[in-house]
């Protein structure tokens, strides 16, 4: 194929260069009803799962139909979204923070045609293209990271674990029958590009083996002081190593028992890969939240120390997640978030009703804050 120039001249990169113009102005993108009623909304209602109405003091209404979907998205799929928005929504739409698509119409009679159109569309493989849901006291789309699709440090896949989980929880995406909304998040390593540490349920890819040392190349590909400094537990030291061929090279050595497998060294130095078929897998966390509602925001807690990568559908993981969701659904009070419920019944009861094993791995031993998580009271349940 022939190279097509955009107009850029590599010989004169500064010629006619435009920089620092930022994003498009949001007002260009507002639907008319939004532009007109911004700041004037008086209330809203979730009419049914995935369908909201917002009412303005002007009397205007905007109806929103929310659809789930993969955040990994082809241009073909985006174009189809645009077709729908052109047909029903005067050419406007928006995305939510959690990768949902929202189609907005300005009157109630436009809702059913839109919904019907969305429901009719399926991928060739059989899955829905635009499942409607993700509102209220249910489970909405999972925010996640790249995984094996596009990242060099993951300990598991993101898109596959998310697809498997959303299939398992699909009824809760299309219903609003939980005690409160439940946010599931996924990060494929603990760099947590998608910070999952304050989610009701968090899926986290995790390594369990210290880095391999590619001594022959290490000093060529890495800045050794940066690799050494990268380690939060000071497990890495500079070292001289004699290769099989007798050459002495500069490299590093790793004190394995101090390694907590965070992979920060690998981020700084490609000659220290951690990935391992048996070592890598899933950590499950639970009970976090970001809302200030009723109780303060809180961190998720590690509730399953490790599950192996079971490609392609991670059944042990989805099973553990379903157990948590079911126990929560059965046990919590109306409005009670998963973490608030666990705290109310006590974490010892949480493990009991969720049928999860408690192991020593779940006791914090990282830094002095660990102490705060131990039990300094006789107030516990047998």
């Amino acid at each position: 194929m022939a190279f097509i120039s955009s107009g850029y001249n590599p010989a004169k990169p500064m010629e006619n260069r435009i920089t620092d113009i930022g994003p498009k102005h949001f007002e260009e993108f507002y639907p008319e009803v939004i532009k007109k009623n911004k700041g004037k909304w008086t209330h809203h209602e979730i009419l049914e799962p995935g369908v909201l109405v917002h009412v303005s003091e002007t009397g205007d209404e905007v109806y929103t139909v929310r659809c789930g979907g993969a955040r990994l998205m082809s241009t073909t799929h985006i174009n189809e979204i645009c077709d729908i928005a052109d047909k029903h929504c005067d050419g406007h739409l928006r995305f939510t923070t959690r990768n949902n698509i929202e189609f907005m119409v300005d009157s109630k009679d436009k809702v059913e045609p839109l919904k019907n159109d969305l429901k009719s569309r399926k991928f060739a493989g059989g899955s829905l293209k635009f499942p409607i849901g993700g509102t209220g006291a249910g489970i909405t789309n999972i925010v996640h990271t790249q995984g094996w699709i596009h990242c060099h440090t993951p300990a598991t896949d993101a898109s596959g674990t998310v697809k498997s989980t959303m299939d398992a929880l699909f009824d809760e995406f299309q219903n609003m029958r939980l005690p409160a909304h439940l946010r599931v998040s996924m990060a494929c390593c603990l760099n947590m590009c998608g910070a999952v540490h304050c989610s009701d349920i968090a899926i986290l890819g995790y390594h369990r083996k210290p880095p391999m040392l590619d001594h022959e190349y290490l000093d060529k590909l890495c800045e050794i002081p940066l690799a050494v400094a990268a380690c939060p537990t000071a497990a890495i030291k500079p070292a001289k190593v004699t290769l099989a061929n007798g050459t002495e090279v500069k490299s590093v050595e790793v004190k394995n028992e101090r390694c907590m497998f965070c992979g920060n060294c690998y981020t700084m130095c490609p000659s220290m890969p951690l990935a391992d078929t048996d070592g890598d897998g899933i950590v499950l966390m639970a009970g976090g939240k970001v809302s200030n509602r009723i109780s303060d925001p809180k961190f998720s807690k590690v509730v399953v120390a490790f599950l192996p990568n079971e490609m392609p559908r991670w059944p042990s993981m989805t099973d553990a997640i379903k157990k948590m969701v079911n126990a929560y659904s059965n046990g919590a009070n109306k409005y009670e978030r998963l973490g608030d419920w666990a705290e109310r019944i006590g974490w010892e009861k949480f493990f009991e009703v969720c049928e999860l094993n408690f192991t020593h791995h779940l006791i914090d031993d990282f830094r002095q804050q660990a102490y705060m998580s131990w039990r300094q009271t006789t107030n516990f349940k047998f």
């Binding site: 920089t19 994003p23 049914e48 789930g68 082809s74 174009n79 009723i294 990568n309 392609p312």
Partner: protein, 441 residues
């Protein structure tokens, strides 16, 4: 016909949830057929090879992507993430497969016209695969080759009026909830402020001058739909200082189970939770116990309200946020790596959000914080870690903010106060000879 067998991935096509595999296969097919006659500037079968490399990861249980080299566009230090496959001979279509981050618009509203201009560009010059959106908020254009980076950038800036996002030790594209554009809870116009900040700090977004990454996130109210308190170095959360507005008639509509007044705006419709009980569902769940019914009137002791949003969420037609609006600002949130996760710590209990003076109070605060962090921050030290290392007091000092009890959940439990010499009468220098006159050895 698919270029690679994908028995693992094929199993991810079933089930109700939209299958990323089906979408990739659809895209591979569209590129293979090329009915639009696109003059693809990167390998036509790159999506086939992407399917292949992911399938191989499913077989191995390990990624097949390598570290990015230093690639980018001229004059920028961010916005492009280099990415290379570690099995290029098997998957030549994705040998180079870089990511470009594009500033998303405020509130993530789009016109189809704009979106189609993006897809057209990315079909020509990239894989046609995207993330809508990345975890920080950007539009992620996933997969192109090095020579296309400048071409894409040129087209974005010249034809689409659109810039790249941040990566590396830069400001990252600020992100917001939809704010007043479609939410009655929002205490300020998040879209306007996020757009302002994104444009005001384009230099910081594009040219690495920071110890590490820096994120702004803007939530319109304490419900924190955009998770700013957990995910941003500086979190702007809408709040108000005066009283919650009460429509007593509407309160009684809720009590009377008027169907137009469903609890929690209908969020619990999927289950029969019994009739709405204002005592049990609102008053008893108020974390401060500052509400009560007196006859048919709901009373709120606003001086003891912490604005947690619960009552407003439950009865949005009856209760409204106050009129003296602004935001609280919290600092230091980050994911666990390296020194453990942090949530944002409250720095400014209340700040006005004033577009009329270009948000002066906010930008002044940001600049003070950045000056300190750029001066004192170590390589790869997030703001939260610097605050932890030098102390919250230091943050107050550099921002000129007076300590108030709102800054703490509780006062220190240890008496280890680092008194400064100028705070102690007589200073630190003493005469041991004089002391020994009264205290023999």
């Amino acid at each position: 016909m698919a270029k690679h067998e994908t028995p693992f991935l094929d199993q991810l096509e079933s089930g109700p949830w939209p299958s990323f595999v089906s979408d990739m296969k659809q895209q591979a097919e569209v590129r293979a057929k090329n009915e639009a006659g696109v003059e693809f500037q990167i390998p036509q079968d790159c999506v086939d090879d992407l399917l292949g490399v992911v399938e191989l990861s499913y077989k191995h249980g390990r990624t097949h992507w390598k570290h990015g080299g230093i690639v980018g566009v001229f004059g920028y230090g961010g916005g492009v993430i280099g990415r290379y496959c570690d099995q290029p001979s098997l998957f030549p279509g994705v040998e180079h497969f870089h990511t470009m981050r594009v500033n998303q618009p405020a509130g993530k509203y789009y016109s189809t016209e704009y979106l189609r201009s993006i897809t057209k560009l990315w079909d020509l010059r990239g894989s046609g695969m995207t993330n809508m959106h990345g975890a920080t908020g950007d539009i992620i254009l996933l997969g192109t080759t090095t020579p296309q980076l400048e071409e894409v950038f040129w087209e974005l800036t010249h034809n689409l009026g659109q810039d790249l996002g941040g990566s590396g030790s830069n400001l990252r594209t600020p992100a917001d909830c939809l704010g007043t554009s479609r939410c009655e809870y929002s205490c300020y116009d998040t879209n306007s402020l996020v757009h302002f900040l994104t444009n005001e700090f384009q230099d910081e977004l594009h040219r690495p001058a920071f110890p590490y990454k820096f994120k702004f996130k803007l939530d319109g109210c304490p419900n924190c739909c955009v998770a700013s308190i957990a995910r941003s170095d500086m979190s702007f959360i809408g709040t108000w200082k005066d009283d919650i507005k009460i429509d007593q008639d509407a309160v009684n509509k809720y009590i009377e189970q008027d169907p137009a007044y469903p609890s929690n705006a209908g969020a619990h419709k999927g289950r029969d939770w019994g009739p709405f009980d204002i005592q049990k569902e609102v008053i008893n769940l108020c974390p401060t116990g500052c509400m009560k019914m007196v006859g048919k009137e709901l009373k709120i002791d606003n001086a003891n309200c912490t604005r947690c949003m619960h009552c407003i969420n439950v009865m949005p037609r009856a209760l409204k946020i106050g009129d003296v609006r602004g935001c609280s600002i919290l600092c230091g949130a980050k994911a666990p790596i390296l020194d453990g996760a942090q949530m944002g710590s409250l720095l400014v209990p209340f700040m006005e959000v004033n577009p009329d003076n270009d948000y002066e109070a906010i930008t002044d605060l940001i600049e003070n914080i950045w000056d300190w962090w750029m001066e004192e921050g170590k390589n790869r030290e997030r703001l939260g870690e610097l605050i932890m290392r030098q102390g919250f007091q230091k943050l107050l000092e550099v921002t000129g903010i007076e300590a108030v009890p709102q800054h703490v959940a509780y006062p220190r439990t240890n008496p280890y106060i680092f008194w400064r010499e100028d705070e102690v009468p007589g200073g630190f220098e003493r005469d041991v000879v004089e002391y020994r006159k009264h205290h023999l050895r």
